[in-house]
Symmetry: none
Subunit: 190 residues, 4 copies
DNA sequence: AATTAAACGAGACGGTACGTCTCGTCTTATT
DNA sequence: AATAAGACGAGACGTACCGTCTCGTTTAATT
């Protein structure tokens, strides 16, 4: 039998305030400038309340991603009937994912967070490679699944990340070329 | 007539000591733990001497990459005659690029550096996507070049980066599957 | 009802360690060489803990004076029955107030501290012109008090400070002459 | 036979520019904020040119005092016929000696300089205790000279310095009381 | 109801690093 | 040889955060 615990229970209000504060500071100033003290200040919360539940800022962000507070609105793909165009459009959106006025791209910030926190890294990939994308991509590949599908998904999303890191521009034509390279020009029609 | 600048000239010894120190600290402890003070300390140099020539640690690392002090030994591809195998082997090496004892992968650290510094981002891509890789990849694609070639290269390298960020394992079979996805199974043989 | 302040309370141990460190460094090397970093280092304290409670090094020294950690043992005058001799002896002691091995006179250091910090200036005068001196001086002046007494005290102590600043020697004969000038030769006898 | 020196001779223009710069910076911001780099910058001179001729900032200020670039206009006493009033007026002027907009009193700054530099200390006293003051004071004391005269002068000027350091106000009445204490009320009239 | 213990806000603490400033020494090309 | 310019190693400045550690208050479940 488990030892019965007495005393107050974890405050959901505090948890919410912390995640809200983290998300808003992250989108405003990027991952590098995100600080535990800043989160506590904006959330109106003691620092210990954050450290009690999360080991570091990376894990706070990881939880925010998990709850769909970041990236959530990029999950759905357009559906024009042409999978190739839809994928390119969705990747373009991913690439331009940016919110900060001072030019710190949000995608780069997410990459920085992923580089610094294992949990964030895991979740970032899972979230980006979400169901809608995989479904469309599978169709475009003629029903591929499993490792094959994942390879294609990683290639598409990875290429976008690499270009974002290199600060190169990436227009729609480039994006279509990328989709063609990975998905193949003639496969869907065959 | 140009204004003749008088006074002492930049110390090459100091520049070298700084880059050496930065490279060794970076490979030992990763980008996050790299500090300007640490570099100055190990280089036996005043902090101002670093700040005089570089705006931040990202730019020091960028210069180290440019000079081939990082990554240089991963530039050459093996040559077994089978481009598919060679590419997979080279990508595996890129993926396992790691030196830190405390588990901070070197590739992830480079990604963090790229996310934080525009110059590093630019140079990282240029360096990784170096001549040897592009040449072999072009052959594998049946002589592709220009945007088409770059799309394929970004897809391959990007996928590896994404998997590194997500802390997933990536064995040789996965790597071959990736190469097949991007390069195509039958193209080289045709 | 007053707002109840919660949270940890100021650490008396840290306060003591800081004042102790400041006093020892001050007497060892003088005010000019006294640094906030040095105090923090010797006190085994974070710099912020000093800056949290004092604006600058001058104010730390001011508090040390207020607590009698500097100057305290020069407060008592000898009592030979002859006020003139006693005052001269006490002023000589004030003049020779020195501790530093490298010749930085302690009195000059106090003057530098007073010049740089309003609070130290105020407290320095209050401390030097302490009760025992005023009492004896008042007797020597035939019971003078108030502004008259202060004028005489300032004249005596000020003259000593000026001579200390000018690095001139000041023997007992000079000191007696000074006392005679301010107190008057014949007053005590009358 | 002396070794004949060849090469250019010390630049008087540079010397002047340095002293001018030092004086203006001193009166603007006080001794504490005076820096060798600041002097060199404003004087349009290499730092080495200052260090070649002066060991430190205190000595530059000492030379400026010696040349009458500081204090020079306070040397003359008014002459109303009443030595007591004249001395009090002159001491008041000394006390209010201030130039900085941010309240750093010039007299306190001179004291700081004197505390930090032996040469400045020596010259400060010599300059303040200049001929005009001594002459008037001697008359007021009924022709005193030598150590006796110096004791009185030190007492007067020292008292003013001490009050300046303590940031206390010092009005004309106080000043007259001080003069009376040192010079004696009835001496001049007798 | 009284007790008990954990979660909370607040924030002090010993630290490390930041990026800037000045120190005094040392090159360099010019005059 | 003296100069203007300024790079250099050194280290203090005052600030921002780190992660840990009290504080006193508030809130549940257990007696």
């Amino acid at each position: 039998m488990a030892l019965a615990r007495t005393g107050p229970v974890r405050s959901e209000a505090a948890r919410m305030a912390i995640l809200d504060a983290a998300v808003s500071l992250f989108t405003e100033r990027g991952y590098d400038h995100l600080t535990m003290e800043g989160i506590a200040r904006r959330a109106g919360v003691g620092k210990q309340t954050i450290y009690r539940w999360w080991p570091g800022k990376g894990d706070v962000i990881a939880e925010a991603i998990l709850e769909g507070r970041l990236l959530s609105d990029r999950r759905d793909l357009p559906d024009t009937g042409d999978a190739r165009t839809d994928l390119a459009a969705w990747l373009s959106e991913l690439f331009t994912l940016r919110a900060s006025p001072d030019g710190e791209g949000l995608l780069r910030s997410l990459v920085a967070a992923a580089a610094g926190s294992a949990e964030t890294g895991r979740r970032l990939r899972t979230e980006i490679l979400a169901a809608p994308l995989m479904e469309r991509l599978s169709q475009a590949l003629g029903g591929a699944s499993g490792p094959q599908l994942h390879a294609a998904a990683d290639a598409l999303v990875g290429a976008v990340i690499l270009r974002a890191l290199s600060r190169e521009e990436f227009d729609v034509a480039d994006m279509l070329l990328l989709v063609d390279t990975v998905v193949g020009r003639s496969d869907p029609s065959s």
